[in-house]
Amino acid sequence: MSSTTNYILGVYDDEDEVLHAVSAVKAKGIKVEDVYSPFPIHGLDVAVGHARTRLPIAAFMFGSLGLVSALSLISYTMVFDWPINIGGKDYFALPNWIPVTFEGTVLFTAFGLVSTFCISNDLWPGNKTLPLDIRTTDDKFVMAINVDKNKVSAADIKKALKESGAVEVNVK
């Protein structure tokens, strides 16, 4: 996170508290940027209002690409480039190719999805992302509010966080 961004962080002790606090803070017209937690919390993504992930669409496209690539490669090698008579079958022996096509589809989907996920989350090798509060890797839950993206004043945001049960309110 760049140092110019103006964040207010509410720190919570309990996952239930932070889940309810998100609704309470949002009810006051405050836009919540994200919530950081040591583990996944059921219903949190819906409460924060994150858009649905588009990874399944990417998965379908990578899978289709894999299917076409595998079929193209095997039909080029087995039919056009170097046809071999195997057991008297047609050169274009589609049933024999299904396992390879399946594997190609899975391989492209898996590698494609992992890469897409890492790139879209700034997780490429060597990248160092500092957490807003290191304690979210241990036992604290942090609600992050971007002041610049909110019309509500910083003082009101701090007040709302306190009221919703935050044990600390920090500015970063």
Binding site: H42, G43, V46, N96, I98
Partner: protein
Amino acid sequence: MAGHSHFSPANVEEHFEFSSEGKKRIIYAFIAGLAALLLGIYLLSKGESGGHEVANAGHEAVKAGHEAAAEHVSGGAVSHQASAEEHYDWTNRIWANVWLNAVFFTGIAVVGMFFVSLQYLTKSGWSSVMKRVPEAFPKFLYITLPILIAVFFFKGDVIFHWMHHGVTEVGSENYDKIIAGKSGYLNKNFFLIRLVVFGGLWILLWKMLRKKSLEEDLNGGTEYFNQLVKIGTAFIVIFGASSSIFAWDWVMSIDTHWFSTMFGWYMFASWHVTTYAVIVLAILYLKDKGLMAYVNENHLHDLGKFMFAFSIFWTYVWFEQFLLIYYANLPEETIYFLERWEGHNKIYKTSEILMVLLNFFFPFLVLMTRDAKRTRLFLKIAAFMIIVGHYIDFYQMIMPGVVGKHGGYGLVEFGMVTVFAAAFIYIISDELTKASLVAKNHPFLPEALHHDI
């Protein structure tokens, strides 16, 4: 809101009422099916193919059969078709249909028990809201198992090549060396013992599970859950063996010369995915009646995933069975697919293609997205198509070996499946009224009521 259900174990108990109007409707469906069946039987007895066969029964039919066999099997394997022709009588198609539907519906009934047992064995929570629905299914075994035993006992030689007279007697004109070699396993007594012992165990374990499950409703406490885990585990062990054995016995032994090591899995996969489709339709029917409101889109999503995944699993086993045979190209194995693809004047080719479309491509494409699995209309369409597709799958397994070129989709087929389906719906609806629709003292019920994926 997600994760905050307003249901609690205290307020979810409700009972399904099998109204007299509903009963009437199912009985009408049963009668309509029966009428279609009887009309079909009448047409079959008068019909061209039926009358023709009766008139020509004897030398000509035998000769035609041998010619057909020679035409389809160039590799020299002895064809079952030849024997099927020798013994053909127009009533065979009726018995084949009884057998087909009895096997199909036995599968739906017993996989209901398998599903509940699996949930106990894995100590799953999410399914505790809807486990009463599949728990009612095995009641139908009371109908189908006696039918299987009766048909086998009285008309077994119609269904099974290995039961034809004299096939295992040295010196008989029907003597068949290959079948004689299998007679240690495929003989009338041992077959009946297997059917009665394993069928009996299925019913016994279901009765035990059902009793404990209903007692849990009254008394509560985790000791019931622990006992149910034990019963479920015992059933899974028995079902693991018996599902394969019955696949060999009831279906694979129809084509006695042929064998496949994938067959147990293949038939189980077909039964399994059909039952998920039936569970989905039953739950959606109850939801449409305003019941089971606590089964939310998350539970339906899970059931949709099961339908989707096991459609692919079925495709995997079906295709692997085909691929191994296609690749090895041994005449005694390829006969099975040749018979369905090119044999019997190609009458089975259309349903073979249709089956793969309905059982793989349709659910694969329709149920792929998350939204489809959470939308009732998509689930209903997909579930219905899966049931139709797997009925055709069983049709393809059983019919070519039993009736050969005399098969087809006629009033007999539609009538028989309607009769069985109406009976199934009636018996299961009746069984559902006997208990609360939700197992209210199931220890994982609170988890299931807050299920969120």
